[in-house]
Amino acid sequence: MRLLEYQAKELFAGYTIPTPQGLTSKDIEQGRKDAARLGFPFVIKAQMAVGGRGKAGAIQKCHNSDEFELKYPEIMQKVVKGEKTRAILLEKMADIKKELYLSLFLNRSKRCYTIIASAEGGVEIESVKNQIIREVGLGNVDSRTAEEVGKEMGLKDKALTQFVDILQKLSKITVEKEAELAEINPLAILKDDSLVALDGKMIIDDNAMFRHDELRKFQEVSELEERAEKSGFSLVELDGNIAVVGNGAGLVMSTLDMLSDNGGKPACFLDVGGGATTDTVYEALTLISKMKKVKGILVNLYGGIVKTTTVATAFIKAYDNKLIDVPVFARMSGAEADKSKEMLKGSRTKMFDTIEEAINAAVIEVNKNG
């Protein structure tokens, strides 16, 4: 789960990492009240789960109420790299002397947490120069390590003391909230040499959410994705018109690739998972039927533990209940595949021996129907 900036900062504040004074709203009426409480000038920041907001004009300075009335609605409407604005943070401007970079993240290849810090922050991590990198096991950072990193960045006196404190607090948040990433970029040194987190990004381990009820309020999943999760399958909504269904994340990804290679446009990624039953597959078809954009369904099953007949039965039930009215192109291999083919004979499900053939037919048919 990726937290929005204001959510990450709410966690930071709970651990007394300094952040600028700010207020978050979801409509302009609340925004006006926030503006009055905060007082001009301030920064209007779109809250969206994507980097590069500044360049895209989703973060702008605001000096008076005329500007506010123009800029607030404009930023509310922003879409950056496909991400919409979900809320607006108004934040007091800071008197910045220097911008640093600081993050703690799960390093997959080293299988440990790793600190990245730099005295040259404020740009995206890919462009951060002179990175100082330290591996820190399960994420705990002692004061000695924090001080070494700070000194290597050229910090001293008040700024160094504050940096050590902030890094240790960031480490505490990472460990206690089970984050895969906690990033402050920029971490600003102000004119008076105090440090403040001007931005915040956190990604929480979804699999650890059962231990973190306190973070549930930040969870924002689409209704469809939530229903999918409850039934034990994974659903990712995409932009195209052919729903892709299969068992196993790898197999469904592979099907998505082949469909795209052949000019098809996937409407969703739906993995019914290893423990699929007729009921869960039926639920999956129900979710697909709610996606208006879907003009065809592509099914790729490798029947092993989940028998293909389990899936075929769900399709027949879906036809009986008039749940699906789009053509279905299916390849079923493995356990009880022949029986499934027999069951679906004469239905609107066209069966193919290979996934390549199923994809060709799906692309031709869906394109023909526009």
Binding site: R111, S234, M253, G303, I305, G334
Partner: protein, 306 residues
């Protein structure tokens, strides 16, 4: 590090040669009992199960113990497979490693990263191999199956398959079998960001196996395991044919594609990055699973990794 083939098969002359004893943790659950039956049917020598509160009973003819210490004490098994729900995984795995298990197959999906890291550390200290979590397991076709994979895609032979995905391991092995390439071992490393045996380690445990003419690596987007493996193949001058497949070329960025580990951030974890590193290591990448046997045949035809 412990020797995988020695653990799974043993040496000729051992009294349990090709009959290595295996313990099932969570044996009375729906999933655990079903797969115990399947593994027994394949010929896997399951000697004990563990379910707290059910010690003394039997299931599928297999005696159940209260804990791993008792089960290992009674059987001397060095291999265990875990079927408990993700939230109980950590305690089950600690119990297994503390009891002296040297090969732990971790089936559960949705294990928190922190718990996986804790087990990685403990396994290092104990010189144990952890397969998974979120893995279909390991199979040596015709000899031993420790996992949830169906038996039908696999047949004995000389190609090793290492996979980050379960169904793709079945799909690719099925295609290999159809093309008459049997498998010496199929190793599912798991779909999570943290693997007990990451790609390189899995590769190293099988690379010197006696019956290996070539290796197929089934990968997917996310992380940089494929890139590191490619570099490792170059650095260690591995000269047997290697062929790869990568799923997720069409996946959007910053979306988890079913597997916790299958996610792209920026260019980190992208398919392009993996394909270009493989090219440097002279490893061809199939566009689709059905292409794997063709590429492999091409490589084997030329003999060594040329």
């Amino acid at each position: 590090m412990a020797d995988l083939f020695d653990l799974l098969i043993g040496k000729e002359g051992d009294k349990d040669y090709k009959k290595k004893p295996v313990i099932v943790q969570g044996i009375t659950g729906k999933f655990g009992s079903f797969h115990t039956q399947q593994m027994l049917a394949y010929g896997t020598n399951i000697v004990a199960g563990v379910t707290p509160g059910k010690g003394g009973q039997k299931i599928e003819g297999v005696p159940i113990y209260e804990n791993m210490k008792d089960a290992v004490g009674a059987t001397g098994a060095k291999i265990s497979i875990i079927f408990v729900p993700a939230r109980y995984f950590l305690s089950a795995a600690v119990e297994a490693l503390d009891a002296g298990i040297k090969l732990l197959v971790a089936i559960p999906e949705h294990v928190p990263v922190k718990d996986a890291l804790t087990i990685v550390d403990l396994a290092k200290k104990n010189d144990a191999i952890v397969v998974g979590p979120n893995t279909p397991g390991v199979i040596i076709p015709g000899i031993i199956k420790i996992g949830i994979m169906p038996a039908s895609p696999f047949k004995p032979g000389n190609i090793a398959v290492i996979s980050r995905s379960g169904t793709l391991m079945y799909e690719v092995s099925h295609n290999l079998t159809l093309a008459n390439f049997g498998q010496s071992i199929c190793f599912g490393i798991g779909g999570d960001p943290i693997n007990g045996a990451p790609l390189i380690q899995a590769f190293d445990t099988i690379r010197d196996g006696a019956n290996i003419d070539g290796v197929v690596v089934v990968g997917e987007i996310g992380g940089d395991a494929e890139e590191m493996l490619a570099q490792h193949i170059i650095d260690t001058k591995f000269d047997k044919p290697v062929v790869a497949y990568i799923a997720g070329r069409a996946a959007p960025k910053e979306k988890r594609m079913g597997h916790a580990g299958a996610i792209i951030y920026g260019t980190y974890g992208s398919a392009e990055s993996k394909v270009s590193m493989y090219a440097k290591a002279n490893v061809p990448v199939a566009k689709r699973p059905a292409e794997v046997p063709m590429l492999l045949a091409g490589k084997l035809g030329k003999g060594r990794n040329k």
